[in-house]
């Protein structure tokens, strides 16, 4: 393997890990705080992708500028879904949460299929496919921009959870809901906010993905899986764990993908299995601390 190829692999992995961290972040937050494995996370991502697509298509809004809009819309949707549906099963057994969120995923994907058809879409901008070169290594602008947006959102969420009063309330609720209640935290509101933040992060990820990969209503499932693997790899608990999980996942996917593409998923899941044996606490489902 040449140095140039190695460099390109490193750059590709870095750029991918930024987007994947954002994909997994909201998933991890909802899982960690509410103990809900949100199988409809991927569907939220697809909604974000469609919002960006239509804003670009109808009003020529730059896809990067539509990220906040996607986030706001999905924040609203997430808040509403939590208050109306998810809250009903918040203390139900795990299976009930799986069923509800899985059903939600199917509902959203089929609605998208109904309204937008199965047509494959991509957001193409004048700067799509352009980039700069360092030596023999190429850095596409869009992926770099996506990495930038992801980094900012990851840092903002990290700061929000540790520095702000509301963020501390969210983490407190995740640690011990009864204790949080005793100190005056309104748990239903906190849960709704947590789910809404998770959905809005999915929306941002969808907006960014719409520029990077061609998509249709079925895009989301694969990203729910990736988010799950990243959360298990990194472990729940805090933002840094998600970053570690996303970095490990990306390096494996890109590196193995360039040498033995047919095996890349086998290797990723193989590492997951080994990790579960060696470090089972990765899946302990700890809350944010």
């Amino acid at each position: 393997m040449s140095g140039a190829e190695l460099g390109q692999i490193a750059v590709n992995a870095t750029l991918l890990s930024g987007i994947l961290a954002l994909v997994a972040l909201g998933f991890s937050l909802v899982w960690g705080i509410m103990n809900i494995v949100n199988l409809s996370h991927g569907a939220f991502i697809v909604i974000g992708a469609y919002l960006t697509y239509w804003m670009h298509e109808l009003w020529n809004v730059d896809p990067f500028l539509s990220v906040p809009v996607s986030m706001a819309v999905l924040f609203g949707l997430g808040y509403f879904l939590q208050r109306s549906l998810i809250n009903q099963i918040i203390r139900a057994p795990l299976l009930a949460t799986f069923l509800l969120t899985f059903g939600l995923e199917i509902l959203i994907v089929n609605l998208l299929n109904f309204f937008f058809k199965a047509d494959t879409r991509s957001v193409m901008t004048p700067y799509s496919g352009t980039g700069f070169t360092i030596g023999a290594v190429r850095v596409p602008y869009i992926r770099l921009g996506a990495l930038g947006v992801s980094t900012v959102l990851v840092l903002l969420l990290g700061a929000f959870l540790t520095r702000s009063r509301l963020g501390r309330a969210i983490r407190g609720t995740g640690m011990d809901i009864d204790a949080a209640r005793l100190t005056g935290v309104k748990a239903p509101t906190i849960y709704a906010l947590t789910f809404a933040i998770g959905a809005s992060l999915a929306g941002a990820a969808g907006s960014l993905l719409s520029m990077v990969v061609p998509f249709d209503p079925n895009l989301g499932g694969g990203y729910t899986e990736r988010a799950f693997v990243i959360c298990v790899l990194g472990g729940l608990g805090n933002v840094v764990n998600v970053l570690i999980g996303a970095a490990v996942y990306s390096v494996v996917e890109v590196f193995v993908g360039s040498r033995l593409p047919a095996l890349s998923q086998a290797v990723t899941f193989g590492i997951l299995v080994i990790l579960l044996v060696v470090r089972p606490q990765g899946i302990a489902g700890k809350s944010f601390n």
């Binding site: 199965a118 193409m124 190429r138 890109v254 993908g257 033995l260 047919a262």
Partner: protein, 402 residues
């Protein structure tokens, strides 16, 4: 949306009239959702279009009796195991007379043993992996050219333009059909004296092929060939542009033939070659209701104005129904085993090309064509040369010089 409603209504009507006598019901499991949802839609529309046409012309005449035809289909969600269940349901519960194939080689592969067991023929229009036909099945018939021939037209076109090309990189989706396409392309390239410098399969549902393209860039091949489905082809072109991978020519088995290829890629779609089973400019003169590819295309568009270009999946799906019509008329009965024998002996010319099956049930008698998007925004058939609309543009300019 309106079309969905119409077809939903059609489905309802279809199931209501199943019990009426004098109706031949074709059953199918098609991917209306899932990865190949778009191609499934083409398949469904093609079947339905031919069924409507036959009814419009009075139905199928069998020994003095006239049968109307109906299509009854379910969504297999692009899951091959679901296809198999639905085919069983269609045969056992819905009592359909004959089976039309699903979309894709894997679902066709799971459907084939079921129809074999019940001795009900299946004419399939969208599964071209020959692996299905190496098992000695007698009831499955492939109307289209087999997978291993897919990229031959593209390789021939490039070699005709530039005999100096030496190296080719091939990347394919790790799935029954695409694997055969990739393998067939590699064999054909070697036969033509090319050096296959890169050959890899990537997992289904890959969302990132930049790693493979990086490895290919290091090999600097003259040609890059991809065998996957529409989304894969889009991803490869998009990321090749991102990474500045500029071969002299790029070609894909599936993707460029669909209008969405250019809708998604814009100018990046230009110069890319695509394999196709059929295009509207081919010069066939068939014995079916439409006779020529052009007449079929025009008739389909007048019914489905949302299609600017008629994808080959629509044509091959429609011709599967026509093959049944001709076979039933020749058999003089709708008894499934007799229809099967009649299919095995069929040799007809259609708007889609010649339909004749070899002893395995594969239509090896129809050639593949090649198409290319050109900078004026249109797609042209560039191979076979004798029916080409325009000469192929070659080489592909590097991404940064466009």
């Amino acid at each position: 949306m309106r079309r969905t409603l119409c077809s939903a209504a059609g489905l309802l009507l279809g199931s209501m009239t199943v019990l009426a006598a004098d109706t031949i019901v074709f059953g199918a499991a098609i991917s209306i959702t899932g990865k190949t949802a778009k191609e499934g839609e083409y398949t469904r529309d093609g079947y339905q279009f031919a069924v409507d046409k036959i009814n419009e012309l009075g139905g199928i005449k069998v020994g003095g009796k006239t049968y109307r035809v109906e299509l009854k289909y379910y969504d297999d969600e692009t899951k091959p195991e679901r296809t198999a269940q639905l085919i069983e349901k269609l045969i056992n519960e819905d009592k359909v007379n004959l089976i039309l194939g699903p979309y894709g080689s894997s679902p066709t592969g799971t459907a084939a043993p079921i129809v074999e067991r019940y001795k009900i023929p299946m004419v399939e229009a969208n599964g071209s992996a020959e692996a299905i036909f190496s098992k000695g099945y007698k009831y499955t018939f492939m109307i289209l050219s087999p997978a291993k021939n897919y990229l031959r037209g593209v390789i021939d076109t490039i070699l005709a333009k530039d005999p100096s090309v030496k190296t080719v990189a091939i990347l394919g989706e790790n799935e029954a059909f695409s694997k055969e396409v990739a393998g067939g392309a590699a064999d054909f390239a070697k036969e033509k004296g090319l050096d296959v410098v890169y050959y890899e399969l990537y997992p289904t549902n890959a969302q990132d092929v930049s790693a493979l393209l990086t490895a290919i860039k290091g090999k600097n091949p003259h040609i890059i060939l991809g065998s996957g489905h529409l989304q894969d082809s889009l991803l490869i072109v998009k990321q090749a542009k991102d990474l500045g991978v500029s071969p002299r020519a790029m070609g894909f088995s599936v993707g460029p033939s669909s209008p969405e290829f250019r809708a998604n890629l814009g100018k990046a779609a230009d110069y890319v070659f695509g394999a196709t089973q059929w295009t509207e400019v081919l010069k066939y003169n068939g014995e079916d209701a439409w006779k020529t590819p052009k007449a079929f295309g025009d008739a389909f568009r007048s019914k489905h104005p949302n299609y600017k270009i008629v994808p080959y999946q629509v044509a091959e799906s429609a011709v599967a129904v026509i093959a049944y019509q001709k076979a039933i008329e020749k058999a003089g009965t709708i008894e499934p085993t007799k229809v099967r024998d009649s299919l095995a002996a069929l040799d007809i010319m259609t708007f889609y090309g010649r339909i004749k099956f070899d002893s395995r049930g594969v239509n090896v008698y129809k050639p593949m064509a090649a198409e290319q998007y050109q900078p004026d925004g249109n797609k042209y058939t560039v191979w076979p040369f004798d029916v080409a609309e325009k000469p192929a543009l070659y080489p592909m300019p590097p991404w940064d010089k466009r």
